[in-house]
């Protein structure tokens, strides 16, 4: 049997925690329901919310891409990737010496350049992000838009970007007009975990 003193301490602790949880929930619900949070893309994220979400994305991509097998990617893939990138990625991500278009500049979070992407991501992770997209970030999934080979070509091109000058980029992307092969679709391709 607990002593009266111990019971008092326990009761106080439990009631305090319950009251704090109750107040927290009430405040949270009020902010949520009243619409006080500014959802506009001209209002910045809170720094630590941004950092937390970014880190969560990093862990999630690392986890989901771990079983993706990277194919051999040669010069042909890089050249093909340059054209795929120019037609589908540069609008939001830009390139060396090349600005994104207006919508890419005003998104939040900003899509950002990919010239440093290969320093931040492994090839299999770039493939996974391109194929599956990133929820609530504006990054679309390309699984139903590009063939698997074209997604890998894009990754091959992005991996070359750190060493690319504005002149190199212009030269590489000046090439062919693209005819896209139909996407291979979801089930058959070796795309890692889709959940």
């Amino acid at each position: 049997m607990l002593s009266a003193r111990t019971r008092l301490i326990l009761n106080t602790a439990v009631l305090t925690l319950l009251a704090a949880a109750g107040v927290g929930a009430a405040v949270g619900f009020t902010v949520f329901r009243a619409g006080w949070y500014n959802i506009g893309a001209t209002s910045p994220h809170f720094k630590y919310v941004y950092r937390g979400l970014e880190q969560a994305m990093r862990y999630s991509v690392r986890h989901h891409a771990q079983d993706v097998k990277v194919p051999a990617l040669g010069q042909a893939a890089i050249l093909r990737g340059a054209a795929v990138y120019r037609d589908n990625c540069a609008q939001c991500h830009g390139g060396p010496g090349v600005s994104p278009e207006g919508h890419g500049l005003s998104m939040q979070p900003a899509p950002g350049p990919l010239v440093d992407a290969s320093a931040k991501w492994k090839a299999r992770e770039l493939y996974w992000i391109t194929r599956h997209g990133v929820k609530m970030s504006g990054m679309p999934a390309w699984e139903f838009r590009l063939s698997d080979a074209d997604i890998w070509s894009t990754v091959a091109f992005i991996n070359q970007m750190p060493a690319m000058s504005a002149r190199d980029y212009r030269a590489l992307t000046a090439g062919m007009a693209l005819t896209l092969a139909p996407p291979t679709g979801a089930p058959a391709a070796p795309g890692g975990k889709s959940q």
Binding site: Y50, G97, A110, P113, D116
Partner: protein
């Protein structure tokens, strides 16, 4: 009765401890740029995000990732030179922001189509950073 009283005391203590947090969300009218600088630094701070400057440059006061594609701009207000060799003043900064290729034809910093007005406000904000 004793339980209630100590509970009230605990609740009061918790509220007192949290009160300073409310002050942290206070106002931020921002620092002033050096004398002679034209434009609106607060609007410039918003314009920075609408031209995605922060996607390549780390810029104090602007939430973004840790990037090193462009040079960090944390002390640009007190640098003597920008863009390698231009004297750091507002007209030069605006010129560089609006048309990097006219300074270096092969610059990796793209021409982002910044209007003169927006470049003035952006430079006004950047020149507050020291």
């Amino acid at each position: 009765m004793t339980t209630l009283r100590s509970f009230a005391a605990a609740a009061l203590a918790a509220l007192t401890a949290l009160a300073p947090l409310a002050l942290l969300g206070g106002c931020d009218s921002g620092p002033k740029p050096p004398a002679g600088v034209l434009g609106d630094p607060q609007r410039g701070k918003l314009a920075v995000t609408q031209y995605a400057c922060h996607s390549c440059h780390v810029i104090p006061g602007v939430t973004g990732s840790d990037v090193a594609v462009g040079r960090p701009l944390e002390d640009i207000g007190k640098r003597r030179f920008i863009a390698g060799g231009l004297l750091n003043n507002q007209p030069n900064l605006m010129h560089w922001i609006r048309d990097p290729q006219s300074v270096y034809a092969n610059s990796a910093m793209p021409n982002l189509g910044v209007t003169e007005n927006d470049a003035r406000d952006i430079s006004a904000y950047l020149l507050t950073l020291d």
